[in-house]
């Protein structure tokens, strides 16, 4: 009897899933921790480079969060950057051509990403998993080509420059620090949204599809429905981060959203950890600054990335987040 209660407690501790907990208690501890994390860069406000990195980290958190959401239903999108680009281009075109307010532009960008994801998802999500990979990879390339050939509308290879900075409720986010506050707020909200989503039955059903699609389908959770939901919502995250990025950098071009960016997002996700909310945050936090800090030895660095990726897959399939779980698991054993 004693033994079984012990395992019960251990298992309860190891799980962070919705059903095993009283609703909305444990995770509230996250919020202060996140707020502290996002406040750290404000102490480095004197160094614009650090603030720049902090902005990129925040945008990448939103971006990779979207990919993580898609991945939790068992799919890996290889055109995540295309949806980022779609959000960016759509928002920029609204801002520059139609002089719409920032909020409207961003909404338009997100809406375009979601619509495209819905249409693409409707076509490919009824096929076997491997086609999803092949087609999303090709679609990412297609997006880049369309932007390249887009003539005056997209500015071709030169892209669109001189994008006015973000303006919200009469305040212009024209300094790095002010934009950081905006980006951090958005990243924070995206994290809280995901935490909340995966506490709900809907979130649980997304995980069910990721864990065992046949079983989920057989017990009434539609694979296609769940994957389409995650693909559309995840791509909305990408579009949102793209719209923000464009207004931060003041410049977009097709190469800002090529396949390397999609692959970078995958690497961040895998190294940080799939299947948890913390993983994408860790991934973005660790992997964003590295290329910026070591610009000189790019080849060595990429080789190191490749090796790290394989080692993480081999020894830490749950990513860096898995280290914590592993340690806890070892302690739990007698």
């Amino acid at each position: 009897m004693n033994v079984s209660t012990m395992t019960e407690n251990h298992n309860k501790g190891a799980r962070t899933r919705a059903f095993d907990q009283a609703p909305g208690n444990a995770w509230k501890a996250w919020i202060p921790a996140l707020l502290v994390l996002f406040a750290i860069p404000l102490l480095l406000a004197g160094n614009p480079f650090y603030i720049h990195l902090a902005v990129l980290i925040c945008l990448n958190i939103i971006f990779v969060n979207g990919l993580a959401l898609i991945n939790r239903t068992g799919q890996l999108s290889f055109c995540h950057a295309a949806f980022m680009g779609m959000g960016a281009y759509a928002a920029v075109i609204c801002t520059v051509r139609f002089q719409t307010p920032f909020l409207i532009s961003v909404s338009a960008g997100v809406a375009v990403s979601m619509l495209a994801a819905y249409l693409l998802g409707a076509v490919i999500l009824r096929l076997q998993g491997v086609y999803f990979v092949l087609v999303t990879f090709c679609f990412g390339e297609l997006f880049r080509l369309v932007m390249l050939e887009g003539g005056d509308i997209t500015g071709g290879a030169n892209g669109i420059a001189n994008i006015p900075p973000a303006r919200l409720f009469g305040f212009t986010f024209d300094s790095k620090l002010s934009f950081y506050v905006l980006a951090a707020a958005c990243a924070f909200l995206s994290i809280v949204f995901l935490i909340a989503l995966f506490k709900t039955p809907k979130g649980n059903s997304l995980d069910a599809v990721g864990d065992n699609p046949d079983l989920a389908e057989a017990s009434g959770i539609s694979i296609q429905g769940s994957q389409t939901f995650a693909f559309v919502l995840g791509s909305a995250f990408a579009g949102f981060s793209g719209a923000l990025l464009a207004h931060y950098l003041g410049f977009v071009s097709p190469e800002s959203f090529n396949q390397h960016i999609s692959v970078a997002a995958i690497i961040m996700l895998v190294i940080g950890g799939r299947g948890s909310v913390l993983g994408p945050i860790l991934g973005a936090l660790i992997m964003t600054p590295l290329p910026e800090l070591f610009r000189s030895a790019i080849e060595t660095q990429n080789i190191m990335y490749g090796i790290t990726l394989i080692l993480v897959l081999k020894f830490l399939p749950m990513g860096l987040v898995g280290i914590g779980a592993k340690l806890r698991g070892k302690k739990g054993q007698p």
């Binding site: 068992g74 890996l76 693409l120 076509v123 490919i124 009824r126 096929l127 076997q128 998993g129 491997v130 086609y131 990979v133 092949l134 087609v135 990879f137 090709c138 679609f139 390339e141 297609l142 080509l145 369309v146 390249l148 050939e149 396949q259 692959v263 995958i266 690497i267 895998v270 790019i298 080849e299 060595t300 990429n302 080789i303 990335y305 490749g306 090796i307 790290t308 990726l309 394989i310 897959l313 081999k314 399939p317």
Partner: protein
């Protein structure tokens, strides 16, 4: 982007252009076919989408380049050496890197991304980013009616066909090939029949990537050689596999040749990025109306 410009820029004869484009298309189609078959073989055995496939094409091109220009080997020997070297390399990589990911679709695929990064950046460190060119395999031009064919390209056709015939013979008539096909069809049944799949994984991976490398070696004298040349053939292999239907070799053959011909015919009339756009549009339409590929059976 790979381009095969139609010969004779001054020519205006339309039939000449089309004839030329068709022949060029068949040549490049054969290249895509080699890539796609190698890709399908790796997928069939490992259930893994090999993102490093294009990098083996690139390695093959460099291997041929080094063999011919530095070691002064004849081209045939260079291609043969490339095949053996990459087969061994693929074998080793399978055992050292991919072994842990056999049958794991998602993780195996991500591991090949890591592999691609290592291979491409390794080549960048060794060879530098600048494109290298290699002497043509043969001089002279053969004319077939109005169509002019440079000998160097006929060589590519001949070699590709020989490789395909050898592969067919191996898969259909040798013991190892039959075992490999059995593994591709169903690993459990193959195991039950006493096929040692432990041996088949590295063999399948090795042959698959060696085919990509041979495609690269054959194209090295025609195009320039640089560490970044792998991405386009990879993308084209994906398209061929989608159009042909995954696992269907006849479908892949048809799709590869059609793709090559389409690109060559479109080449004089539009930019390659525009023809790629049309192609992707076609791929999406295909998926809506015939998701199982050009020759695929309905169902799934």
């Amino acid at each position: 982007m790979i381009r095969l410009r139609a010969f004779g820029d001054t020519a205006v004869d339309f039939t000449f252009l089309i004839g030329q484009a068709l022949t060029n298309g068949l040549i490049i189609g054969l290249l895509y076919l080699l890539m796609a078959i190698g890709f399908t073989l790796v997928f069939g055995v490992m259930r893994v989408v090999n993102f490093a496939h294009g990098e083996f094409y690139m390695l093959g091109a460099f291997s041929a380049y080094v063999c011919v220009t530095k070691l002064q080997l004849p081209f045939l020997a260079a291609v043969l050496a490339t095949f053996i070297l990459t087969l061994v390399l693929g074998w080793i990589i399978e055992v050292v890197v991919m072994k842990g990911f056999r049958g794991e679709e998602l993780n195996g695929m991500i591991a090949t991304i890591g592999l691609a990064m290592i291979l491409q950046n390794g080549a960048l460190m060794i060879f530098g980013p600048d494109p290298q060119s290699m002497p043509a395999v043969a001089e002279g031009v053969v004319s077939l009616g109005p169509v002019m064919l440079p000998m160097s390209r006929l060589y590519v056709v001949a070699f590709s066909l020989v490789v395909l015939v050898l592969l067919y013979g191996f898969l259909m008539h040798s013991k190892g090939g039959r075992a490999l096909r059995a593994v591709v069809q169903d690993i459990e049944i193959a195991n039950a029949q006493g096929i040692r799949s432990q041996f088949m994984y590295p063999l399948g991976f090795g042959i698959g990537v060696a085919l990509a490398a041979v495609a690269g070696a054959l194209m090295a004298p025609v195009f320039s050689v640089s560490p970044s040349i792998g991405s386009t053939p990879l993308l084209k292999a994906f398209i061929v596999v989608i159009l042909g239907g995954l696992g269907s070799i006849p479908g892949a053959a048809l799709a590869a040749l059609l793709l090559g011909v389409f690109e060559s015919v479109a080449n004089p009339f539009m930019s390659s990025s525009f023809s790629d756009m049309l192609l992707f549009g076609f791929v999406i339409l295909m998926l809506i109306f015939r998701p199982s590929g050009l020759l695929g059976k309905a169902g799934r």
